[in-house]
């Protein structure tokens, strides 16, 4: 009787741990496939194994005098003061999008010089800078 009880408990415990391991594996697998890596234009230039099909974020400053709009898209240049990349986007931009201000664009690279954005991130505060960008700009300043 006691033996049976122990056996049942053991099997429950084993099943539970198997399920947990499976769930944890699943969570991290999906997580790994769905994180968006953040790059500055310089990092894009210097990274060799970029996967063009993967969604990424590109951040930097909107270069002064670079914004152009036509019927379907807006084009502008994102710079980190060392390197730059052209970004094309269609849709409304967040309120604080302007030349000379920080920007983060989300989308895919067409090649190392051209980025097709699906989303431009909204920032509520004019002094706001994404933490990723702040770190990068400081690094470049050194």
């Amino acid at each position: 009787m006691l033996f049976k009880k122990v056996k049942i408990r053991l099997s429950i415990l084993l099943t539970l741990s198997a399920i947990s391991v499976f769930l944890i594996f699943l969570v991290f697998k999906v997580l790994e496939d769905n994180v968006l890596y953040f790059y500055s234009p310089s990092e894009i230039k210097n990274t060799n194994d970029l996967n063009l099909n993967k969604k990424i974020r590109v951040g930097g400053m909107v270069k002064k005098g670079s914004i152009q709009s036509n019927e379907t898209e807006i084009k502008f240049v994102v710079t980190d003061l060392n390197n730059e990349i052209i970004v094309s986007y269609s849709g409304t931009v967040p309120a604080l999008f302007a030349e000379g201000k920080g920007v983060v664009a989300e989308g895919r690279l067409r090649d190392k010089k051209f980025f097709i954005a699906k989303r431009i991130l909204a920032k509520h505060d004019e002094n706001y800078m994404p933490p990723e960008l702040r770190g990068n700009l400081n690094k470049d300043a050194k």
Partner: protein, 627 residues
């Protein structure tokens, strides 16, 4: 003047809290069953002082008293009165004062409203709650004092960020705070229950109302925040899996788990330790959320003024709180009487808890992973919505199914029920009709749609059945119905949402698959504290030849200088037409985002229904207690 008065009231609160701690501590050694009236008196004084300090700050905002740094930084004399008032809690210092007020309010309410309960349990709860109050008062006084003075007194304030000048966002923080901070009282009660060794049933009964209250406010708070994001951020989305949103959702999962497991505990079936763990976890998650939001370590679309020293304080508090809770838990862990059966109501409730904890884990990992990875490897990443959608969606199916069948099982029984019945047949029929109407090809989405329909039908059937028997568990029915409808409408909305992005000049027309959008006119207006550029658009539907006029705005505020884009939404019960325009660098080309979003209002209504269940449960309990 007001600054001095405010600080006086804060000191008063601090003094009364210390006295309550001293009195309760002394009272622990006295063996009788009477709580001395002194404690009640001090509690009333404490409530009076803390509410007064809040009203002083409120008054300073209404009178635009810029001798207070906090008012100077966050207000402006020509702001509408309503936003002067909401400005009180629209910033870190003011919201901390609100936080303390809610801690104090719940402390007094618990003392005065909890009847027939063990004395040492009540006293200890009060003791722990006042330790929390003291900690936050010290934080307020040393680091984030809303009553700090400014000299010389400036003539004008800096103004409140216009994006926060919005009715939904004015009431959103207080609602969410009652949820977040309200959970503190059952955190304190859980620790008190461990030490006083109160029996499980009295513990369950004494915390149930508080769990219900905080759960209700948390739900409505999340709803209001979501509605705000929908019309104010101009993206047409209502949930972005943004870290700040996640912070409000994580305590919600634990509260929901708690709400269910209390039902088991109430009937002395078991789960005592588990309910205590959940009670502790809820407040822990609330503080964690606050830490993540306020410390600025997260990259979020919502930016809060952040400050590392605040983060450090909250983090240290969190660590001490968690470790002392764990210590108390293991030192005084309660005895369990377990009598679960596999096919019983309690088994389904335990399953609900597993799902909630799993959801919590998924959201917690998604929120913290970028922070961890940045600390360890230095890679900058963000976790996007696909992660959450991919992981959570498949688990909705078993959850919906358990919600459908679980409630009809009996407590502590082991009777297996046949799944084949009229309701199933009806649900399959309804699903097939839906399927032929929408022709969705994704198998997973179809499964989710089916199981949400099944839940809705079953719940409605349960309502009819219990109505006949005059034994209605109305709150469960309403909440589960709300959840079923919510999932159903979210997916229908997802399938049928249309989005078009394009650029237009004044007078031009854009033709999409189903709609023609004409940019008719542009107008400029000066309103009290901003300048408005209004676009007039004519949207006509090619299918049914109806047309609508939409007027999105670009608002230019000067104090502080900010531009906001106001979406224009034509809304009815079945569909929203959503249009935002923006303009870059004063060119004559406007960027247009045009969306058609079906069933948005029904999504909001479903959440309201979900939360309404909580309210009904609260009143049902009151009636039940009277009889």
């Amino acid at each position: 003047m007001l600054s001095k008065l405010g600080i006086l009231f804060i000191i008063g609160t601090l003094f009364t809290s210390l006295s309550i701690i001293f009195l309760t501590f002394k009272e622990l050694k006295v063996i009788d069953n009477l709580i001395p009236s002194k404690i009640y008196k001090f509690s009333l004084f404490q409530l009076f002082f803390s509410i007064s300090s809040f009203f002083v700050l409120l008054l300073a905002y209404i009178l635009s008293d810029f001798s207070l740094v906090n008012v100077y930084e966050n207000s402006h004399s020509n702001k509408p009165l309503f936003y002067k008032i909401s400005g009180t809690w629209g910033n870190h210092e003011g919201s901390l004062l609100l936080w303390i007020n809610i801690l104090v309010l719940f402390s007094s309410l618990f003392l005065f409203l909890t009847k027939n309960s063990d004395k040492s349990f009540k006293i200890l709860t009060l003791l722990f709650q006042n330790l929390l109050i003291i900690t936050f008062l010290i934080f307020l006084l040393t680091n984030s004092n809303p009553f700090s003075e400014l000299f010389p007194v400036p003539l004008e304030g800096l103004g409140l960020n216009p994006i926060l000048q919005d009715p939904a966002l004015a009431i959103h923080p207080p609602l969410l705070y009652i949820g977040f901070v309200g959970s503190s009282i059952y955190f304190s009660a859980a620790l008190a229950a461990l030490i006083s060794k109160i029996d499980s049933q009295s513990f369950a009964i004494s915390i149930k109302s508080w769990v219900l209250v905080s759960w209700f406010f948390q739900t409505v708070g999340i709803l209001v925040g979501s509605i705000w994001a929908y019309y104010e951020l101009g993206w047409g989305g209502y949930w972005f899996w943004d870290p700040v949103e996640n912070s409000s959702l994580m305590p919600w999962f634990v509260m929901t788990a708690l709400l269910h497991s209390i039902l088991v505990l109430e009937r002395r079936i078991g789960l005592y330790s588990w309910v205590i763990v959940l009670s502790i976890l809820t407040f822990t998650m609330s503080v964690t959320g606050t830490f993540l939001v306020r410390s600025g370590i997260l990259n979020s679309v919502h930016t809060f003024a952040s400050d590392p020293s605040r983060g450090l304080f909250i983090l240290s508090f969190l660590v001490i709180m968690v470790f002392s809770s764990i210590f108390i838990f293991f030192k005084f862990s309660p005895k369990e009487n377990k009598k679960y059966s596999v096919f019983s109501k309690e088994a389904f409730i335990i399953a609900n808890n597993w799902f909630m904890i799993f959801f919590l884990g998924v959201v917690l990992i998604g929120t913290l992973y970028p922070v961890l990875l940045d600390t360890i490897t230095g890679s900058k990443i963000s976790v996007g919505p696909p992660y959450y959608n991919l992981i959570l969606a498949p688990f909705l199916i078993p959850l919906l199914f358990l919600m459908t069948s679980g409630p009809n099982y009996k407590w502590i029984s082991n009777e297996v029920r046949s799944l084949f019945n009229l309701v199933l047949v009806l649900s399959v029929t309804l699903f097939l009709i839906t399927f032929f109407l929408i022709k969705e090809k994704n198998f997973l989405i179809n499964l989710i749609l089916f199981f949400s329909i099944y839940l809705i039908t079953q719940t409605l059937f349960d309502f009819y059945e219990s109505f006949k028997k005059k034994n209605i568990n109305i709150s469960r029915i309403i909440s589960h119905l709300g959840f079923g409808l919510l999932i159903f409408f979210i997916y229908i909305n997802h399938i049928f949402s249309v989005e078009n992005n394009f650029n237009l000049k004044l007078g031009e027309t854009k033709k999409t698959d189903y709609y023609t959008i004409k940019f008719v006119n542009l107008e400029e207006q000066s309103i009290k504290n901003y300048k408005s550029i209004i676009g007039y658009f004519n949207v006509s539907n090619k299918k049914n030849f109806t047309s609508k006029e939409l007027r999105p705005e670009i608002r230019v505020y000067d104090k502080p200088f900010t531009i906001t884009y106001e979406a224009s939404i034509n809304s009815n019960l079945f569909s929203d037409t959503y249009l935002t325009m923006s303009n870059i660098s004063d060119t004559d080309v406007f960027n247009i985002k045009f969306q058609v979003k079906p069933f948005m209002n029904l999504i909001w209504l479903s959440v309201l229904l979900l939360s309404l269940g909580g309210v009904l449960n609260f009143f049902k309990r009151k009636k039940y207690e009277k009889n």
